[in-house]
Symmetry: C2
Subunit: 324 residues, 2 copies
């Protein structure tokens, strides 16, 4: 069996070896750029790992797995335009390095390059995995829409927020695991269990990401810290803080999150101060842990030798920093 870093290497190589229609080089330059500036490759690694659970041969899963990474990066390129984000993985975002039109168009072509990768799935599972992928793709767009809607909403409940990140982030983890499982030869029951495993992993991942925006190491995180706070984003930490805050603390938090002109450094510092008083870090971590435990419950039920599941367990634990 392959370990996480071996699988990441397989994916990195597959991405480097992607072939493009280069008749218009300017179209492809941003594609190569965004795929070359790193990233953890979690989704394709998860797909290969799920395939490897059921089969010692992972070759046939490589192209669809690569397609999942290309699709994910397509969403980043377009989301970064919508969020006016300047930095991604410590590099300039595509619309910032080129321009908005270029980012739209190079993003678009990535969606079809992802299709091209899926069209190279083995014939006996192609239709099945393409359906899984495409359903997830539509859900990811739906999640991004809810995310934009919630920016303008006065109140976002925890339930609404969790559903939004399920769509925007978790279903692609779910689809990745399921895609790999199907190609590896899993039956429907096991493929669905791995979908649920991936979904819960994705939910935990996003909550962890919400925390990294506040407490992360800027070099590792690759984005500007406190970015969510500066733009008044209603993340899991914020929603929980608003629910728990009382009196002057509540008023102060509401005031900070209604402002756009405050000095960003001061604002971030004051918000974190309130989060700390309310124990938001531990609350969020506990919630993420709950999802990881749920993921384990689904993984447990997958009908293969428990020993084959070690890398999957390891991946889940590492996502919430349990084994780092």
């Amino acid at each position: 069996m392959y370990n996480h870093s071996e699988l990441k290497e397989v994916i990195d190589k597959a991405i480097v070896n992607l072939s493009y229609n280069t008749e218009a080089e300017k179209l492809i330059d941003p594609v190569k750029y965004v795929l070359s500036i790193g990233g953890k490759r979690l989704r394709p690694v998860l797909a290969l790992m799920a395939c490897n659970l059921f089969s010692d041969k992972i070759d046939e899963a490589i192209m669809p797995a690569t397609g999942l990474e290309v699709f994910h990066n397509f969403t980043l390129v377009h989301d970064d335009i919508m969020d006016q984000a300047l930095l991604r993985r410590n590099f300039q975002t595509v619309h910032n390095k080129w321009n908005t039109s270029q980012a739209i168009l190079s993003g678009d072509v990535m969606a079809f390059i992802a299709n091209e990768c899926f069209l190279q799935a083995p014939a006996n599972s192609l239709l099945k995995v393409f359906r899984v992928f495409n359903k997830a793709a539509i859900e990811v767009c739906t999640g991004q829409q809810l995310d934009m809607d919630y920016e303008k909403a006065t109140i976002v409940t925890q339930k609404e927020y969790l559903r939004m990140i399920e769509l925007k982030t978790a279903v692609l983890f779910a689809a990745s695991a399921k895609t790999g499982a199907i190609i590896g030869g899993a039956d429907d029951k096991d493929a669905d269990l791995l979908y649920e495993y991936g979904k819960n992993l994705g939910l935990a991942f996003q909550l962890q990401d919400d925390l990294l925006d506040i407490y992360g190491d800027v070099k590792v995180f690759g984005k500007i810290l406190g970015g969510d706070i500066v733009v008044n984003k209603k993340t899991f930490p914020y929603i929980n803080a608003i629910e728990r805050a009382e009196g002057t603390q509540l008023k102060e938090l509401q005031k900070l999150f209604s402002e756009r002109d405050t000095d960003p450094d001061v604002k971030v510092k004051e918000v974190i101060n309130i989060y700390d008083q309310l124990n938001i870090k531990a609350i969020t971590e506990n919630f993420a842990s709950k999802y990881i435990n749920l993921a384990f419950e689904f993984l447990d039920k997958v009908g293969i030798d428990q020993k084959r599941k070690c890398e999957m367990v390891h991946m889940a634990n590492s996502l919430i920093g349990r084994d780092r």
Copy 2:
């Protein structure tokens, strides 16, 4: 056999009956809007017509044909952002009616709705038609890139321009005809002949569109007349005018096409005046006619009873106004 207007009705109905994931209504509203404001449905009609050449049953081609129309409208939504176009089919463009972020995201989801339509192709031809479609999709993006590149280029040759519109416009006509043919049961040779028929039809269509921008009826055209001239777009008429103009005429044309601040009405009038002196309308029409004749050559070779081809002949002729 079905005639053109019957096929358009079939497509209009299929578009109205499209089902969406409506968990985020704001995502889908612009999709419904852009698909409801008309359009000639040429690509899906062409697909159904090609299917109907080989089979009396066209049901199985309806969803992929619909996918071609959804894809086409996806490109319009995104192109209109890049071109900053305010009007399309006499209605506000999506980014103008909503905003750029909404147009990016609702456009994105249309790409995956198009996939969803193709995933409903009959099992025995699904992979084949999806490959035809996806290759065209990547080429359309490539064509749009060349179009943007040529905006900044000092000189664009006729050859470059024709290749650009082949990619941006003609290959989708080609893929539409081929998709329908494959689902109708055409062999590879006939499917390829219909691809070439569609491609030449698409080239003629774009040249005609270049003329409509100058000489069209604004109510029928649905865009502002002279729009290409105002933004100094190097269309087929322009490229031919520059090649043919001499002396003061050439200088005047070059001057007009280097300006952005001239009164648009004056500029359009002066450019058209030069085009008229150089007989550009007839030259362009002749070129379009050449492509239509080429399309007929390919259609002729398709191995079915010539009588079945009448609607296809009619469609080609009507595109260049021969039978209106």
